[in-house]
């Protein structure tokens, strides 16, 4: 089993979710995060003083998937998350030993 993690622009979440749904993905988990990267934050003036925001709001998707489905899912995410502008984010894949569905106790593929 694999865990696919994607850090993307918040405005892309809906499109990605729709694409993954079409792709047969049955579930995923979303977290609000803040990113620091090549896309710099803003420097603004607030009441006359400099206001530097170094973190940019992003959304993190976590998705458990079978090894065989990983590449398709990664491609779908990359396609729908891309604007071509700096700050589009990352997708990464890591290994998972075991997955359990709490409701039923099913494991691995069956747990998705």
């Amino acid at each position: 089993m694999k865990l696919i993690t994607a850090i993307v622009k918040p405005t892309k979440l809906e499109a990605i979710k729709d694409a993954l749904e079409a792709h047969g993905v049955a579930g995923l988990t979303v977290t609000d995060v803040r990113g620091y990267g090549r896309q710099r934050g803003h420097t603004e003036i607030y009441r006359g003083a400099q206001y530097t925001v170094e973190f940019v709001p992003k959304v993190k998707l976590e998705l458990l998937a079978d090894v065989l489905d990983v590449d398709g899912i990664v491609d779908a995410i990359v396609e729908h998350a891309r604007t071509g502008e700096v700050g589009d984010g990352k997708v990464f894949v890591s290994d998972v030993d075991r997955v359990v569905r709490i409701r039923t106790g099913e494991e691995d593929r069956d747990a998705l």
Partner: protein, 460 residues
Amino acid sequence: MRRLAKVGLLTGALLLVAAPAYAQQDGPTLEALELNVLVVFLMVATVLVFIMHAGFAMLEAGMTRQKNAGNIVGKNLMTITLGIITYYAVGWALMYGTQVGGVVGTDMFFLRGGSYEPDALLEIDFAFQAMFAATAATIVSGAVAERMRFGAYLTVAVVMTAVIYPVVGAWTWGGGWLDQLGFVDFAGSTIVHLTGGVAGLVGAAALGARIGKFDAAGKPRAIPGHSMPLAALGVLLLFFGWFGFNGGSVLALDGQAIAGVLVTTALAASGGAVTAALLTRLTNGKYDVAMIGNGILAGLVGITAGADVLSNGAALLVGLVAGLLVTASVSFVDSIRIDDPVGAISVHGTCGVLGTLWVGLFHVDDGLFTGGGPALLGVQVVSVAAVIAWVALTSAILFGALKALGQLRADPDWELEGLDLHEHGVPGYPELVFGAGTPSTDTRPARELSADRTDGRTEA
């Protein structure tokens, strides 16, 4: 044409248009002016009491959890509006209609018929007093917050403003048997606040505690409200409105009385804050801001019965005592496993009793401690008991019936997930629950949107 004109013209011209009969009858006499000014004074008082409903809304929202924030303010919106209609249709009649046996009024439904012709005083008096009726009802909403069904609450609000409060009013301000006994309750420590507090107590008891309020051993656990700024705003709006609640209750253009009442009101509220602050600091080492808010309200409830007949010193003192009493009462209510999320029972019930009895003790002329003997105190005690009995009985029937019908308490999962979602379909703060910017709405292909903004950003 709508412009102010020179006064001579104006009084003539506009009045003739607006209310010819009236203008003819009154003319530019001192009496007519006094009446008109009295209406303006009561308009001020009415709007001040009205805005107390915003105060209750903010206080109750701030002192409960965010998952129920829409629900609680929804209750407040309905209380004042339903309350006005119900009091117009029924409540006023029971309270101020021609009485039967000193117990209840019987005419003037929809403000029609009865002993008064519809006129300026009736109308403004109704407006002022309708706000009071809704206040008695809204006190309940705090005590039953976060677990009662919305529909059931609407029923309670209707019955409170149609029957329970008006009957108390009939006995007292309506000239009924307690009034004849000599009961003194200037602006309603008992009539409004204790009535609301007792109904809240019965409601909270009938409902049971919120899930999680008491641990397995029955020990109370704090469930802090979600926004101290909203709670503080609520307290200050209530304090603001209370100047109208008490000031307007002079019900006459009597500057002496009005000024005195404003000062006693301010002093008592202030006293409540100070002792609540000090007591929490002394016992817990920290100043409990929510309790300071309760202390202010406790002082206000405490002065309400005697705002016009207490010296400034006695007013400050009742506030100081109320601040202590409310703190003790909140813990006591917890200890008997009644769950009152905002402290309504302690603020309005306990301190309602305090304020009423205080008049018996410190009335400038007739108080026990001011040389007036025990008579007034006796009357105050009897009256408090009578009101508690009536309200407890009727609200027990009301809440009991709702419970028997299975309509009283929200389902556990509604309560756990929040009443907002289940009763209203949308959380009070949707973006705190479902993420900012919901719905995330960038559904057009990227090329249709202009390129993401890059100003002020550099590519590394």
